[in-house]
């Protein structure tokens, strides 16, 4: 094998490349058209969100969290709100929880329709792109009618939601669901379950086996496409979701077989479109009357949060997978001590990079699109030496050393001394 190295070509996909929506870099080693190795480089989209967050109060962070991502703006500020509510022990009115479900599922519909189009474009099937994005306009209009904005709806606040869903919104949503059920979904199913081109390109390519999905901790549709029944809404019995009859969607219910390839990931998305519509309908039915927020004014919430202690973790199934926000209180201050998030794209990227080895170059854009990457959420940390301006890559050992130091600093009583687990990451021994 070694003496063939000279015929291998290394080509960069990214940071700027027509296949990618956001800057990220894949260095692909090719033997002809076959992929030998994939190396993922991140960090082209760093905006220092956590750093900015450490200079904002709890309410201001809501609007910052919303702007972390252009698609799952609701997911981020919902997850952040959940983390803060858990931290301060705030009860959210039931009606607010239902409104959150409705907005969250509307967002899932628009995100999945967007991804269906992107995958269509990646295989050069532009008609799918244009038609599915045309269909997406309808749900964007609804979101604009409810939240006043197409992307950043600013629905959440600490302890509830900021706007109510009125009868006119309810009518518009039901009309939209009818339109999707009757006109859009049959066509979407026709394309993503039965079209020969789509099947030829997506079937048996970019396979993430169940074992790899579990080992790399793949999230969302990527994990469910590989047959891992993982859905934070179901596993965590999140909010009012259990009352709405949530269950994880796997491709088994549609095609009867789980292969873990790109096709299965798209089937999961199509299934979740159906599921989201059902959830919205049930939520609209069951929604009780009552208050929509725990605090009438934001400054009352801030006073309450100033007294809060401890930490909180919020989890939510964003359209791309499980999103986790961690908030640590700083008693006596309006500004949290620490705000940290884990995005689903990060584990998914490495899982898909692993899956690409042995496939063809033609599969790279499709496989990347099939996990629906969101890099603006993922890139948050870059370690740069202030004097030399050089970027530094931290290994597991460095990170462990740093975290042990920080733990000692916070609580000198802890005596445990963890060892590095080891393992590889993108071909580099940690």
């Amino acid at each position: 094998m070694e003496n063939r190295v000279e015929y291998w070509v290394k080509i960069p996909i990214g940071p700027i490349h027509p296949a990618l929506e956001e800057p990220e870099k894949f260095i692909i080693t090719l033997d002809g058209e076959r992929i030998v190795n994939v190396d993922v480089k991140l960090g082209y989209n760093l905006r220092g969100v956590e750093w900015i967050g450490m200079r904002r109060n709890y309410i201001q962070i809501l609007y910052l969290a919303e702007r972390m991502c252009g698609i799952c703006s609701f997911s981020h500020n919902y997850t952040y709100s959940r983390a803060v509510e858990e931290m301060a022990g705030i009860e959210v009115p039931e009606r607010a929880e239902y409104i959150r479900v409705i907005i969250g599922e509307l967002e899932r519909i628009h995100s999945h329709l967007l991804n269906l189009g992107v995958v269509g474009h990646a295989i050069g099937y532009d008609t799918v792109l244009h038609l599915s994005w045309l269909a997406r306009e309808r749900v964007m209009d609804i979101l604009e009618a409810i939240g006043g904005n197409r992307v950043n709806y600013a629905m959440n606040t600490i302890g509830g939601v900021r706007r109510d869903i009125e009868d006119k919104h309810k009518r518009a949503i039901l009309e939209m669901i009818k339109y999707y059920r009757e006109e859009v979904m049959p066509k979407v199913e026709e394309v993503f379950l039965y079209d020969p081109t789509v099947e030829a390109r997506l079937r048996d390519a970019g396979v993430i086996p169940k074992r790899i999905a579990i080992e790399y901790s793949a999230q969302g549709p990527t994990a469910r496409g590989s047959g891992v029944e993982k859905d934070a809404r179901y596993n965590e019995q999140l909010g009012v979701y259990p009352d709405l009859g949530i269950k994880p969607i796997t491709p088994k219910e549609f095609t009867g077989i789980i292969k873990g390839d790109m096709f299965d990931r798209m089937v999961v998305r199509v299934g979740e479109l159906w599921q989201s519509m059902e959830l919205i309908e049930r939520a609209l039915d069951q929604m009780p009357e009552g208050k929509i927020k725990a605090f009438p004014k934001d400054n009352i919430a801030l006073v309450r949060l100033k007294k809060a202690e401890g930490e909180g973790i919020g989890r939510y199934e964003a359209p791309r997978g499980e999103l986790i926000h961690y908030v640590m209180a700083n008693p006596g201050s309006e500004i949290p001590e620490r705000w940290k998030m884990r995005e689903p794209t990060f584990p998914n990227l490495f899982a898909v990079a692993r899956a690409l080895v042995g496939e063809q170059l033609a599969d790279v854009p499709v496989a990347i699109a099939s996990i629906d990457p969101c890099l603006s959420c993922t890139d948050r940390v870059a370690v740069i030496d202030a004097k030399t301006g050089k970027k530094k890559v931290l290994t597991e050992k460095d990170l462990l050393k740093a975290s042990i130091e920080k733990t000692r600093e916070i609580n000198p009583n802890i005596k445990a001394k963890p060892e590095p687990v080891g393992g590889t990451c993108g071909g580099v021994r940690l």
Binding site: V9, L30, G32, E33, Y125, D126, T127, L361, A362, V364
Partner: protein, 329 residues
């Protein structure tokens, strides 16, 4: 005197076909846009694009060699030469005994020059695009040539002087023979030719060498400005010439004969009618095909050519052969 007329004729044809093929690009974009529920660019957009590109600076990569700059000129020169051998509703300008072979040769030459230019650019994307282009070229020529020569052979049985000439199609029409086996065989070959045409102009399933999302326009990755404009024009000409071949084989009828026109008027009318037929063939093979399919992997496309289209071509040819040799009477 004769040479002067020929040169004038070629220049006239070149100007006409350049204009018409760029217009077709615009019409195609508009039609596909309507199929995709978009508005689409103005019909004249490719002409604006061409003029804009010509006026722009051309960036030469540091790693490129001299051939990088020569390739676009050679590609356009081959395309213009191709026009002299293209049937355009009348016999090709430089009709000879074996112009079919020259036609196929020039078509392959354009692709070859593109590949050479891409390899000279020093970009890895262009290298991969060039590899793909060569693989596609090797796969698509076989079924096409098999079908083309079978049809020419069938026509030569009717007693033509120059069996390897494109003029044959204007003397006899393959559908005229009328026996069921030939008609059916020709129909099969027609489908083969439509698929070949789609792969020649690289759309739909066969948009593999220039795959935008995979290799960033492949062979064209490093070209810009004037050089890109020349390539764009040459591929537009190639598109028109390839479609002209299909039209000449399967729909050679002119209308000037019915109207009783002769001389220059007949030539112009036949040319216009031919253009219309080319547009219809391109509409099926390019616009519709592009709108309803996505791109295949290179292995799948090659498999399709050798595993599906070549056997299909064989079936068409066998039907014609059986008809001629009278195995089943």
């Amino acid at each position: 005197m004769n040479i002067a007329y020929l040169t004038l004729g070629l220049i006239a044809i070149y100007l006409y076909v350049s204009f018409v093929s760029l217009i077709w690009e615009g019409v195609d974009r508009k039609l596909v846009a309507r199929m995709q529920r978009r508005i689409g660019p103005p019909v004249l957009q490719p002409i604006y694009d061409f003029l804009k590109l010509v006026s722009k600076e051309s960036i030469i990569p540091r790693d490129a060699n001299k051939f990088f700059e020569i390739a676009p000129v050679l590609a356009l020169a081959s395309s213009i030469a191709l026009l002299a051998y293209t049937p355009l509703g009348f016999e090709p300008l430089l009709a000879t005994k074996g112009d079919v072979i020259v036609f196929i040769y020039l078509l392959a030459l354009i692709a070859f020059v593109r590949v050479m230019g891409a390899v000279s650019s020093g970009s890895p994307y262009a290298q991969i695009g060039a590899q793909r282009e060569i693989i596609m070229l090797a796969s698509r020529e076989v079924p096409m040539m098999l079908g083309l020569f079978a049809i020419l052979w069938r026509l030569s049985k009717l007693g033509v002087e120059k069996p390897f000439s494109l003029g044959t199609f204007y003397q006899y029409n393959i559908w005229e023979i009328g026996t069921p086996l030939t008609v059916f065989g020709t129909f099969v070959l027609f489908i083969v030719f439509l698929l070949w045409l789609a792969s020649e102009i690289e759309v739909g399933y066969f948009n593999i060498p220039e795959a935008e999302t995979e290799v960033a326009e492949g062979p064209m990755a490093e070209y810009s400005g004037r050089h890109l404009a020349l390539f764009k024009l040459s591929s537009a000409l190639k598109e028109f010439a390839s479609a002209s071949l299909v039209v000449a084989i399967f729909f050679p009828w002119g209308i000037s004969g019915y109207l009783g026109l002769t001389g220059i008027g007949a030539v112009v009318l036949d040319l216009l009618f031919h253009t219309l037929k080319v547009f219809i063939v391109l509409f099926v093979s390019m616009s519709v095909f592009r709108a309803i399919t996505g791109r295949l992997r290179i292995t799948q496309a090659v498999g399709m050519f050798w595993g599906r289209i070549l056997p299909m071509s064989f079936i068409g040819v066998l039907l014609i052969v059986i008809d001629v040799l009278g195995v089943i009477a």
